[in-house]
Symmetry: C2
Subunit: 147 residues, 2 copies
Amino acid sequence: MFSKATEYALRATIYIAQRSSDENKPGMAEIAKAIDSPQSFTAKILQLLTRNNRIVSSVRGPNGGFFLTDKAKKLPVRSILEAMGEDEVLEKCVLGLKQCSEAKPCPMHTNYKLIKGQLIDLFETKSIQSLADEFENGGAKLNNRIK
Amino acid sequence: MFSKATEYALRATIYIAQRSSDENKPGMAEIAKAIDSPQSFTAKILQLLTRNNRIVSSVRGPNGGFFLTDKAKKLPVRSILEAMGEDEVLEKCVLGLKQCSEAKPCPMHTNYKLIKGQLIDLFETKSIQSLADEFENGGAKLNNRIK
DNA sequence: ATAATTAAGGACAAATTTATCCTTAATTAT
DNA sequence: ATAATTAAGGATAAATTTGTCCTTAATTAT
């Protein structure tokens, strides 16, 4: 559904949201290991997310790392997609037609409409914080390891 | 959601399903024009779909072209995804985790589960024929042209 | 039979995505 | 102040996807 870059962005952001505090800010090595992603590539992605501190914030130097402000934690998950320039996936026509709309529907349009609405609602309603909570308390995983 | 190749595959198959008959088999030039896709690339894709006549059938020579057997028209839309090797998109974890499951859910898993079920159901229930009917009678479009 | 037409398929090219490595800049601890 | 640590950013490479072009093979019409 999403590019690998966006998948890493989602996993990294959720991880950072749950693990960061004033005393502790996970660094690149820790994050990449925790979410099963290539470190350097993930670093590039976090650079996108830290632009203007839109989603993620960072500090350099010893004990530096990444964190989310309380404000950022309340952002909808969709904002991560937006920062990655991939939010249009939610609205996109299944057949890839630019002109597809209620007025000019593709053959899948009416069938897919309801699902699309739920998908948009999910990404706009769920906050980054709520997913971090699932990770912390719900036993949810962010990597592919067995144990 | 899907690759361009799969989008073209879906559009082309629906078009062929609706336009082909014993007397008339659309050719590559007509198909590519009708669905707004690059002709040579679409030709490659139709080669995949015609392998073993799984989805699409073809005849070469004058008045040749592509068509769907009645049996093929009854196939679920999902079979097109399968022929393109892209059906796992339907089952895939939103965060891209291979191990994501009911037992080891990612933070999005429970939220996305219902939507995923509907998506799978849509692609498994809808037949190629039913989409061709939408194209024929429902005024549905397969290209990006204004009029 | 021959020529015309059309899909099949191979080779290759362009564009995009994914990924790595190395240097620079900022910050902190000593 | 200095050295150590860590993110930022540039350059580049590998892999994949998207796309084109040309030749071959099959089929049909004449």
